[in-house]
Symmetry: C2
Subunit: 429 residues, 2 copies
Amino acid sequence: MLKKIKVGLIGLGTVGGGVVEILNKHADDFKARAGVDIELVRFADRNPSRFVELGLDPALCTTDPFEVIADPAIDIIIELIGGTGIALEVCKKALESGKHLVTANKAIMATSGHELLKMAEERGLNVRFEASVGGGIPIIGPLKRSLVSNEISQVMGIVNGTTNYILSSMASEGMSYDEALAQAQALGYAEADPSADVEGDDAAAKIAILASIAFNTPLSMDQVSTEGIRTIDAADISYAKDYGYAIKLLALANRTPEGIDMRVHPTMIAKSHPLAHVNGVDNAIYVIGDAVGETMFFGPGAGSGAAASAIVADVIEVARDIDNGRVSIQCSCVDDLAVRDMNKLRTRYYIRMVVKDQPGVLAKTASIFAANRVSIESLIQHTCEDERFAEIAYVTHDAYESDIQAALGEIRSLDIVEQVASLIRVQDL
Amino acid sequence: MLKKIKVGLIGLGTVGGGVVEILNKHADDFKARAGVDIELVRFADRNPSRFVELGLDPALCTTDPFEVIADPAIDIIIELIGGTGIALEVCKKALESGKHLVTANKAIMATSGHELLKMAEERGLNVRFEASVGGGIPIIGPLKRSLVSNEISQVMGIVNGTTNYILSSMASEGMSYDEALAQAQALGYAEADPSADVEGDDAAAKIAILASIAFNTPLSMDQVSTEGIRTIDAADISYAKDYGYAIKLLALANRTPEGIDMRVHPTMIAKSHPLAHVNGVDNAIYVIGDAVGETMFFGPGAGSGAAASAIVADVIEVARDIDNGRVSIQCSCVDDLAVRDMNKLRTRYYIRMVVKDQPGVLAKTASIFAANRVSIESLIQHTCEDERFAEIAYVTHDAYESDIQAALGEIRSLDIVEQVASLIRVQDL
């Protein structure tokens, strides 16, 4: 006879609906296959029409999340409200009330995650958050467990489906950024206000979470150097192809002798790299460990089923732990590494600028690059449609970020330079 | 103060050496990060020179594996002998002696795995075997845990690095099968006797293990319909390219209404599919679940570091379980599905044959296909260098395996047909 594990579900959006669906469909399978008896016993959402849409017993539903948390019969709270306002209060209150916590909330885990993990540890409770990164792709579990035997040197990935859809559409269909964004919005892949996705904040939260686990160090999203994709132009996509690259919004975290190098920005990667073939709303996360070498985890980064798959797996693991009277290893942040200054980055850069088409321009920019220790590997120059202007696309040799920024500062101030239109880092893989 | 978990290591080949190296390097990290104190306390290998090469204390070494098992201080036995002879005795004896077992032995797990798991369950012991499939790629852990919330419909992958190296070299460098095999042997990617790899048996063992977990059903490698890559010719690679496909040795297991469809054979897959970009000795495993959708796990399928990474992760998990006084969920083979007859396969087929270049040949073969309910989607015909002969490459519409085999039986008996050179199944993804 299995002990029944009682779960309260707070937040009944599409992902919450997915959780209800999986447990309706497979609760008996989980008894047989996983040895746990899980039941959703209370539901909360601010919108009562969701109770009807999901066919829930009205007696089990409330618009007050704290009513669910107050139910003494409940073992596990699933928080699917999102954002850092009421959701953070719900998470804290759940732990204070002795409930285990499963959440998909990347914003909370990337800002207050360590506070929650500490609260849980003090109370002998679990906090699980597999769905906060990569949708249904198993990545947090594998990092914590399957790759625990490795010293991880790099975690790098495409972790935002919206921006990957936009960049993929620009590359495959020759769309402009605005056209691709509009299409993504029409298909429901981008929000009406797409800022959190296209400015890179969503990806920054996710890489902070992954890096915390990979490097055993408490990290938050405000420590991630973050640039979005708004400035990427069809011209950049075209030059990237000429140079043999794809442009992806990469989230990276590298272990370096000077600390953790952690950033999100549009990146040129070789077309031959597996990440270059991750298109549309798919996500993929690359992990390099000293023993295993290079591994990649690929799958749908979003969608109600994918996220619900990860949430229910977390609930099953917590239920097993409850049955076994134990708590799983949480983030073991015992290393506390420093975060490296972005200016210490040394990599190759792609730079596109629009200049007045007159003699001496190339010499002038080249001498500024040289004076700042930036050496040019190759360049392509075209006269623009407006023949008074020319466009130059440079790729540099390895250079320091600080030198690049200093050089571009000087170049921007030249009156022969109309615009430094794009700066994209090149990742050699 | 952590309890010291004592481990006996049996088999000191390259992977065993990798295990020694990881534990030498990271044992202190595992105490801090994973909360377990693991020590290798006894070593066995039939070749005593390995003790010296690995710098082991001679007092801890023996050529008799059963001496290690008999040591009452040991908690966990790592079996890295390989094969099904003495290794199986070692695995059984370890469990009979109350030791937890970690093994990389796919041959044992794909033939006697369920017997070992049952023995372990009766004794409250763990058996772990992540390294038996996909080298260091986390796949068994994710299937058992991260994807436990899904009903899995398909597991499919490139799980043999040797054959993937050979097929990749044939495709990228235009080599013949024999040239590619010789190069793989020269680089240490293929054995002097490559049969187990090139005939598909290694891949069959691995898919049987994965399917057992995915479908909660005890399965063994002799239930896998298995064909190797020996008959693949440079001409097939070339036709595949013309048709927009790559040829890979796929191991597949599908849940179907008539039972589990489980097979290993050379397969044409669309060049746009992520598996088509898995080249060289890399492995990748694709998993489709009803909630998560399509996920892929990619990485190095072999190598001492990769396999050792998985083995040490298993040891750490078992050590945590020992500390917690519990045993993790093993294969929960509660569903016991039937295996479908290969003749019930319905898919598209590529068929290459060499015929006498004379009128009526095409009509004759076409009428035999039609009489056996096989409909041709497209064909390419070339005159051979020896102008008396022509080569025809067909791709069929969906047809039953039984009908294809019947048609080819009739076609082979025609005196105008010199040879049915290749039969490659086409996987629509």
